[in-house]
């Protein structure tokens, strides 16, 4: 027993160099650095417009929907999964509430319908992935992508419905007047408040609840989670249900902002959500990433489209830029891993 005084301890491990110690810091806050840099560039290009309150509020208004989809997608990606159906589920939720409204349903039900439909679709995804033993969440959610889109078209007859009551539009369109600042009216969009509250809630959920930590554990090593007595299937069902809920919630916000429901809403939105999560530093192999990072990823995407719009750059260039940034973000992650692992 005397020998075990040093038992399995680090054998006078050399102190890691500054570059290695920088990695966790960059991991956590690197995305904020990127955002700061982008803001500086955009400010330099459009000093009057970019930093105006109006423009900032606009960015948050426009990114709110992607923010909702991305945080749900983040959960799926944390478990090394994916949810391809969020764009279609958004459209389904949006269409259900618009059609229900047109049919004269009372607004509280109309309001809840979007999120509830999303939750139900997500639950079906979760059941399919676990109980039907689909080989990968890709398959089940790809199926849901088509089914939800088809359903959205069927219930609407393929046409948009416009005109929603005030309370239903509240989350997506409303803003709070805070006062004047110089010549500017300071309006705080409700969508921004919603985004911040949702992200704080997800942060608390993932960092501090039993299920949140188990989601990380499942992403890190599903086998370990299983033999530790964690009910992996139940956790996965919860993940995809939450992801669907957030997609439906995104549908409600988009319906509010556009004062309508249209069956083509959210086409390709799943890819933008995935992009935001990946840019935010989450690992596609699961188990790694932070809520702050995802928030940063959403903001980066918002800044790109806002900045290019302000500078009258074609939307096609936005696509190229976002694509390049995805590749760059993952490349940086690969480099980081190589430097970070000491074998």
């Amino acid at each position: 027993m005397t020998a075990s005084n040093e038992s399995a301890g680090p054998v006078a491990e050399a102190r890691p160099g500054w570059r290695l110690r920088l990695i966790p810091v960059l991991d956590r806050y690197g995305i904020l650095l990127v955002i700061l840099l982008m803001c500086l560039v955009l400010y330099a290009l459009q000093p009057e417009v970019f930093l105006s309150w109006r423009n900032i509020a606009n960015i948050f208004k426009q990114t709110a929907v992607n923010a909702m989809l991305a945080i749900g997608m983040f959960l799926a990606i944390l478990t090394a999964g994916i949810d391809l159906s969020v764009g279609s589920v958004l459209a389904l939720g949006m269409m259900c509430l618009a059609v229900a409204n047109a049919a004269g349903w009372p607004w509280p039900i109309v309001l809840l319908l979007g999120p509830v439909v999303g939750l139900a679709a997500g639950f079906v995804n979760g059941i399919g992935i676990t109980k039907l033993r689909m080989p990968h969440p890709f398959i089940m959610t790809l199926g849901m992508l088509f089914m939800a889109r088809g359903l959205a078209n069927i219930i609407s007859g393929g046409v948009p419905y416009t005109g929603l009551p005030e309370p239903v539009r509240f989350l997506g369109a409303e803003q709070i007047y805070l006062g004047d600042w110089g010549t500017e009216r300071l309006n705080l969009p409700i969508a921004l408040i919603v985004t911040v509250v949702v992200y704080l809630a997800f942060w608390a959920f993932l960092e501090h609840t039993v299920l949140g930590r188990r989601i990380y554990a499942i992403g890190g090593n599903p086998q370990a989670a299983r033999v530790s007595g964690i009910n992996v299937d139940r956790a996965l069902i919860a993940v995809y249900t939450l992801c669907g809920l957030m997609a439906g919630f995104g549908g409600l916000i988009m319906a509010g902002r556009t004062n309508s429901g249209f069956p083509n809403a959210g086409i390709g939105a799943e890819l933008e959500a995935i992009a935001a999560v990946i840019i935010g530093g989450a690992s596609f192999f699961g188990g790694r990433g932070t809520v702050l990072g995802v928030f940063g990823g959403v903001i980066v995407m918002g800044l790109i489209s806002n900045g290019l719009n302000l500078n009258n750059v074609s939307v096609f260039w936005q696509q190229i830029l976002i694509g390049a940034i995805i590749v760059l973000a993952v490349f940086l992650d690969v480099v980081r891993r190589e430097v970070g692992t000491r074998k």
């Binding site: 075990s4 680090p10 501090h208 370990a224 007595g229 919860a238 188990g287």
Partner: protein, 273 residues
């Protein structure tokens, strides 16, 4: 050779075994993995289990830890018949398994890995939204590691940053964090650097001193002869031989692994060279 079970060095003779298996058979379809295997583990004993690949060691351990249920036969824990439906049941009695592939989540820190699936909680929520008491987890993990004399820089370290030996130590700490009575280890030294093997073996000795019974599967005679009180050999899914460590020799045990009772140490060395 000693066909009858020999009392372990530390056993008080007539004391009943803490864990016993009687006539265990296990079939996987047409394949017979185990045939009427008997197994006894005494309190505070380190029992070595040897056998060639496919001899049924791992299958037997998975039955003892509740991962598989036996096709035939009976398990007794502290003299009472028990039936495990999952590792969860076995763990409830204090039977823990350290898996060969080290069931740890590399992305979580040491404290979280030790309490994985049994997180300390706080607040009034229950179920999946119960709050994890990170502070208590860190403190209890540190205390537990100190108890086992495992030294790490910090319990906040991610397991992915640890060496193989340190991971093995964390896996053992995990298995013993909740009043374990029996710890089953499947080749705990197989993947380790030479200098780390001794530390893990000392850790196993430490468990024994705390009164925990240990089952150690190993191919390495050095491991067996350093920590075990008794060794049993399986061959082709059946009991083959068994002896106290003081009453046998390396060459004899190596012979058992190869299915001969003549003692085949030299033969084994010849094959290696």
């Amino acid at each position: 050779m000693t066909a009858a079970p020999a009392p372990a060095a530390t056993d008080l003779g007539s004391q009943q075994p803490i864990l016993e298996a009687r006539g265990i058979s296990k079939y996987f379809g047409a394949v017979t993995a185990l045939r009427g295997v008997d197994f006894k583990l005494h309190r505070g004993e380190v029992l070595g289990v040897v056998g060639d690949n496919g001899a049924g060691k791992s299958t037997l351990m998975k039955i003892l830890s509740g991962l598989y249920s036996p096709s035939q036969g009976q398990l007794l824990f502290e003299g009472r018949p028990v039936r495990f439906h999952s590792p969860h049941d076995a763990r409830g009695l204090g039977i823990e398994m350290v898996y060969q592939d080290l069931a740890l989540a590399e992305n979580l820190n040491i404290a979280e890995n030790i309490f994985l699936g049994r997180e300390p909680r706080r607040g009034r929520f229950s179920g999946p939204l119960a709050l994890v008491d990170h502070k208590a987890g860190r403190r209890r993990a540190q205390e537990h590691l100190d108890n086992l004399r495992i030294h790490v820089k910090s319990v906040d370290q991610k397991v992915g940053e640890l060496s193989g030996g340190q991971r093995q130590a964390v896996a053992i700490a995990r298995a013993t964090a909740f009043q374990a009575k029996v710890v089953i280890m499947d080749e705990p030294t197989a993947a380790l650097a030479v200098k780390e093997v001794g530390k893990v073996l000392d850790l196993i000795k430490g468990l024994k001193h705390q009164g925990i019974s240990v089952v150690l599967i190993s191919h390495r005679m050095d491991d067996i002869f350093y920590v075990c009180d008794r060794v049993i050999a399986l061959f082709h899914g059946a009991n083959f031989a068994e002896a106290r460590l003081t009453e046998t020799s390396r060459s004899q045990v190596i012979g058992w692994i190869m299915g001969t009772k003549q003692g085949a140490g030299e033969l084994a060395y010849d094959r290696v060279q």
